[in-house]
Symmetry: C2
Subunit: 466 residues, 2 copies
């Protein structure tokens, strides 16, 4: 190992190789899940250095854990507990942000953060349209195929990716940094690295699609009486202003009550009684106000709903500042953690099933796990729900309870509602049991074949998709 560390230092510089326990701590523990022990953390500065680091690790038989900003939510960025793995951090591979407005793209190093990319795009009036609470690196966003609150408008990372460069565990650099919006020449290689947790290769650079920053944005909070009514309102908005809809986030009463109890806000807009669902509706557009009055468009759409057959489902529409509504929405996760231990489940079901599914899971958990409180909130516009389960503080076997709940809800979601146990967080040790249970033999066979092609020695990561 000493020979490897010396060779790594010669490659990335002395300050690019960390071995002290204190320095390694932040690389060993994940944002929400995942904890292990690393032998070293290595911080290459260029794609060539990443490739060289991988070649050296292979030569010395060291396994490698790639890591972006370590903000993932499935434990896929942390080393195992062996203490033998090398963490390959992309944090210093963050020098290139090349904006090409006419091409509608940006070329970025994998270690560039989402906020840094958007800061570089802002002077051009452009943005990378993936909207998240965290500030991940681009490489990590691709490896987990990040979703976020504006997926309903712009799609996920996959939809906004044109070119990719990947370092294979052999030390080979595979570069396809295309700026082409269409290129239909057989297998689209980048798709193999999107959402596969860095297990087939380490992403070093990417070409992403960038879009005009909206000139107008309006948001309101609708107080809605039921899950069914949330879907009815969504249907009206999609028919009337669907192409302007950039977020449709529903927060359940249980979740909003937690925000009102523990959050920071100027005033409670619900007068102490939050509705069954508080729905944050956001419209945005790149059109100038002279061409389209966005506020009027939202008002007209809401008026259409309130004149229609499902008007009763909407109890109130709050007037206020969009940022205040977003502020409430963004405090849900943290506030729930104040209520007790939380198991966060990142689910999706066909959009038409959202209300029925949510009621069903609540009913079943109430029967079988009466001490567990269901607080759901999420992206109803795209069929995604973060079903957060608040657990009793005094439960004797919290880990066992979490596993039992995960098993139960995942099975219900996948088997009875044709849903997903991981709508946008990806796959990692945290939900690997579900992956193994619900993934088809064909997918796993393809993964085995690809792993054998790109990382035959299984040097990358701590788990397997095969």
């Amino acid at each position: 190992m000493h020979a490897l560390l010396d060779a790594l230092r010669a490659t990335v510089g002395d300050d690019g190789v960390l071995v002290d326990a204190h320095d390694l701590a932040t690389y060993e523990r994940g944002w929400r899940y995942g904890a292990g022990r690393a032998r070293a953390a290595v911080k290459p500065r260029t794609p060539a250095e990443v490739a060289r680091v991988l070649a050296l690790c292979r030569e010395h038989g060291a396994r490698v854990q790639p890591m972006g900003a370590n903000t993932g939510l499935v434990g896929a960025s942390n080393p195992d507990t062996s203490g033998a793995m090398v963490v390959l951090s992309l944090e210093r591979l963050a020098r290139t942000i090349e904006v090409a407005p006419v091409d509608g793209v940006a070329l970025v190093d994998a270690g560039v953060t989402l906020s840094a990319l958007n800061a570089a795009l802002a002077p051009h009036g452009l943005t990378f349209p993936i909207d998240l609470g965290a500030d991940p690196q681009l490489g990590g966003m691709i490896a987990t195929n990040t979703g976020g609150t504006r997926l309903v408008r712009y799609g996920d990372v996959r939809h906004n990716l044109l070119g990719l460069e990947v370092a294979l565990s052999s030390g080979e650099l595979v570069s396809r940094l295309t700026r082409l919006h269409k290129d239909n020449t057989g297998l689209d290689l980048k798709q193999l690295f999107v959402g596969t947790s860095g297990l087939f290769g380490v992403i070093t650079r990417a070409v992403v699609r960038v879009v005009p920053k909206p000139r107008q944005r309006v948001a309101t909070l609708a107080c809605v009486a039921s899950g069914e009514a949330v879907l009815q309102l969504l249907a009206t908005l999609q028919a009337e202003v669907g192409e302007l809809l950039s977020a449709y986030e529903a927060v359940s009463r249980e979740a909003m009550q937690a925000v009102l109890r523990h959050g920071v806000y100027e005033r409670d807009p619900f007068g102490g009684a939050p509705p069954a669902y508080a729905v944050l509706i956001e419209l945005s557009t790149g059109l100038a106000p002279a061409v389209l009055d966005l506020g009027a468009a939202l008002e007209a759409a809401l008026a259409a709903h309130l004149e229609g057959p499902h008007a009763d489902g909407v109890v109130d529409v709050l007037v206020g500042r969009g940022e205040d509504f977003w502020h409430l929405r963004h405090q849900v996760s943290e506030s729930l953690r104040e209520e007790g231990p939380v198991l966060g489940l990142d689910l999706s079901v066909p959009r038409s099933q959202m209300a029925v599914f949510t009621e069903d899971v609540q009913r079943r958990l109430a029967a079988d796990f009466p001490a567990v409180r269901v607080a759901d909130f999420g992206h109803w516009g795209d069929g995604g729900t973060h079903l957060n389960l608040v657990l009793p503080r005094d439960h004797g076997d919290l880990a066992g309870l979490k596993r039992a709940l995960q098993d139960r809800v995942y099975a219900l979601t996948v088997e009875e509602y044709s849903g997903s146990y991981s709508a946008e967080h990806g796959v990692g040790p945290h939900n690997l049991a579900a992956y193994q249970r619900f993934t088809s033999p064909a997918v796993r066979a393809a993964c085995r074949a690809l792993r054998a092609t790109f990382d035959a020695e299984h040097a990358l990561g701590t788990f397997d998709l095969g």
Copy 2:
């Protein structure tokens, strides 16, 4: 072979197995390229029958050519010249079109045609947003990842595909007909079958994303002085009304002159002198006229351009009916064929390079192939150009000339402009030499691994991506 034919008849019915030369002719020759001889054509009616046909062919050692509507442009849907292959036509697998408006999707059999799908969607106010001259089947569209004239707005087929079912050559049916708009659980299996010409499996059903049919559509024809000016006008439109832009098609003078000579139209809108580029600009929206006046939006955007620094590039903006402008655009390919033998090249380059690239290729071909006329037209909004080369009728070796031109232009496109030799038509025998020349070893290694996994005996198709 007789035993196989009997078994096939027992599976799909007597009327589902064709063996007479007369009946087979339409399956043996492609729309533009591709010609071979088939032993039989088989027409299964269900996914299970497709799987059974494949299993039977495997059992009897017969190779299989899957075929949709046979409208592809790279010769990938026709059998080879051995006379031994079985054509598996999906034309009767066309019974299911299940529209789910709340989910925003439709479940379709692979043999359903684009026009049939859109006819079924129309009563719901929905459409499948891939716009083409031909009327292919959905399975073929997925296997070739079709683009079309509205890609700038809606993306290609890949962007509008949620779920897929595939029959492997083993006879196994792999079904992942998900309606989820997000599902982030590792490798996205469907991506392996998009654009890979049916070589890994035969697509039997799909879930596609459907979108609201536009309530308003306006189009105009701008007469533009140069390729650079086409890009300048595009930049203004993207800044002002980018999210409304649904087509941006530029037809060169050479191509438009052919339309005026051979086409069918009421009147020549250019008074005998078409501009360097006639640019068809289309805006569309699902918003009601009361919310957005689309005609006024287009006028405002054009006015902004005509008041800007690049006003000189726009010679004229024609007033007229959108369908008349589209009618001219859609006659380009046919009209050019009246001028002489045509080699159609389906290219893309980074959008910023479109003008420079087009001039460069014209200059180089003029020098080296003076008898060849370059007539370009295409989707400048997404960096795509159909560079059609009109060849001398009396050339002694037309096939040799076509190969030489293909080689020359493909190399220029890919090697000097980081472009694509197949922007939207996919890969087939017609451009296989380019595939072999320009595809990276990593992509080919992945294809070999996937072929070995899904079709180890190479029973499907007439070529290989490995």
